[in-house]
Symmetry: C2
Subunit: 331 residues, 2 copies
């Protein structure tokens, strides 16, 4: 019988004594992958085909206050009650099913995103990470970070990385139950590193990232070359971080994102997240780089652009991209 | 010592008696690949990594009148004298060096393209094919089509296919001298098939296709999966042509073009021929297809779109794409 999410939760919590508190508050940062998570080997457990590496967005992420009570689950996001029929609520409540202390127990959740949700930046990573962190406090499980990362991964793959700050590597693992598929922080910091969030469109995506990933793995003939690309890029990125070689970091991250989009474009039907405006910004980044400013980009499963650069070039970047929201991940 | 273009010309013409005429006129059609030629295994001889399959554009192509004479080569294109320092003239004269009957002999060339050159549609395929066809007449070599295809390939890879009309397959071959790398026509015709040329931009390309191909082969990690994709697509296309299964043909051709662009996007630096307007048209094609009109697209190393559809849908296609120039390849 295949392993279920519930099996893994039971395994992680085995022997833990719940010590329920009235309410618990937690925070988890969003993260941007420099080497992408693209493709699952197990859809139930969110086990990835490859490892990945991200940088945390520091104070941009998700806060949540959890309490047990009421006669049904309820969630507010940024002060507004979310209807329980909405996909966001449904996915959250289904995840909470894994953790109810008794069949009739319900959760009251107050969540707040400090990263603009509507702007198309993924909030599921920080969202599922903060749920796990809050539940750990609420129930007094005192789980270690590795266990928290595994539980967060069951909600959303990239949430496994949002348990930590700074540079984070999610090890793909090889076991069928995914107990070796968790994230860990790298020791290095890089205070001069900057990210620039460039919102290209808040429009609805043509296809969700979960479905796009599945279609790519199943139909893209170029996907076969993706694991090898990831292995090479992970080694490059870690070497670049150790050596504080920014151009090596930027080039590798941009190349990785482009290759991920390329695997989608070769899927059938093609998955094209780029909007005309995305192409304009991609060309603008290349043009600024040609003028001598070391700026690179990464993109996730959507049309928005994330710029990568160093503190010393922040003014030049902001002049070319006046709407970019600049983030210092290590501040 | 590596084999040179001159070696191949000498080999093909060995034993042929020249029977010079005063002047000779020839015509070669342009062609659009349904399965692309992307990547060389030999840059000197234009030997491809994979086979490819195209459809001829019938009366859209290149005409040329050749004569021997004068004290230097001269070429007019569409009635205008081309300066000998221009890349087009330089590339032509270097090709003609392979065929001079005596060191001091020069060629007078009058060429005309019936396909809009400035619109970014490749004219090198029909261009080098017509040169070889005209020289064959001028010198009275009476070469067979296979030999003509090999000679045209030395000028430009895809010119090997422009020796013929209709569906044409260029066999990659395996030998180092490329004597097994030539094109042949398929027996099938498909009178209902239509192409629509959609000019997205006449702007200068950011990088020539020769350089883009080289960069892709050398730096794109996804290129490793390209030969397998081509092998599958060639089999699909030939089966679709035999069965007159248009959706199978269209889907395979579009998927092949997308995968080719994907290999480029994953190169470093990324090769992105798509303009914002290309993306708009790509989405428009998908939207028309969703409305039930079987229309597909292909793209070459540039921003323009080539639509594929059947005669019965010509009106619907023309309404959605009023500027498209519709071509009946078998008319």
């Amino acid at each position: 019988m295949p392993v279920t999410r519930k099996d893994i939760v039971d395994q992680v919590l085995r022997g833990r004594k719940a010590n329920l508190t009235a309410e618990a508050t937690a925070y988890a940062p969003a993260n941007i992958a420099l080497c992408k998570y693209w493709g699952k080997r197990d859809g139930e457990l969110n086990l990835p085909v490859t490892s990945s590496l991200s940088i945390s967005l520091g104070k941009f992420g998700s806060k949540a206050r959890f309490a047990i009570g009421g006669n049904r689950d309820s969630v507010t996001l940024n002060g507004r009650v979310i209807d329980s029929t909405q996909p966001f609520a449904q996915r959250l409540f289904a995840f909470l099913d894994l953790f109810r202390p008794a069949p009739g127990a319900h959760f009251q959740v107050n969540a707040e995103n400090t990263i603009p949700t509507a702007a198309g930046f993924a909030s599921s990573a920080s969202g599922f990470a903060v749920v796990v962190l809050a539940l750990n406090k609420l129930f007094g499980w005192q789980l270690d970070e590795r266990s928290l990362s595994i539980l967060a991964r069951l909600g959303s793959g990239s949430a496994s990385r949002s348990i930590y700050t700074g540079f984070v590597e999610w090890h793909a693992g090889t076991s069928a139950d995914g107990m070796d598929s968790y994230a860990e922080p790298l020791a290095e910091t890089w205070p001069e590193l900057r990210l620039g969030l460039l919102v290209v469109s808040g429009a609805e995506k043509p296809i969700g990232s979960r479905a796009a990933m599945k279609r790519t793995v199943e139909t893209s003939p170029l996907y076969a070359a993706w694991p090898g690309k990831v292995a090479a890029d992970l080694a490059e990125l870690k070497a670049a971080i150790r050596a504080k070689d920014f151009e090596r970091l930027g080039r590798t991250a941009e190349s990785n994102a482009m290759a991920m989009h390329a695997t989608m474009i070769a899927a059938w039907p093609p998955v094209i997240y780029w909007l005309p405006e995305s192409l304009i910004e991609i060309r603008r980044v290349a043009a600024l780089r040609e003028k001598g400013v070391p700026v690179y980009l990464t993109m996730d499963a959507g049309p928005n652009i994330k710029l990568l650069f160093l503190d010393k070039d922040a003014d030049a970047v902001q002049r070319t991209f006046p709407t970019a929201q600049i983030i210092a991940p290590f501040a």
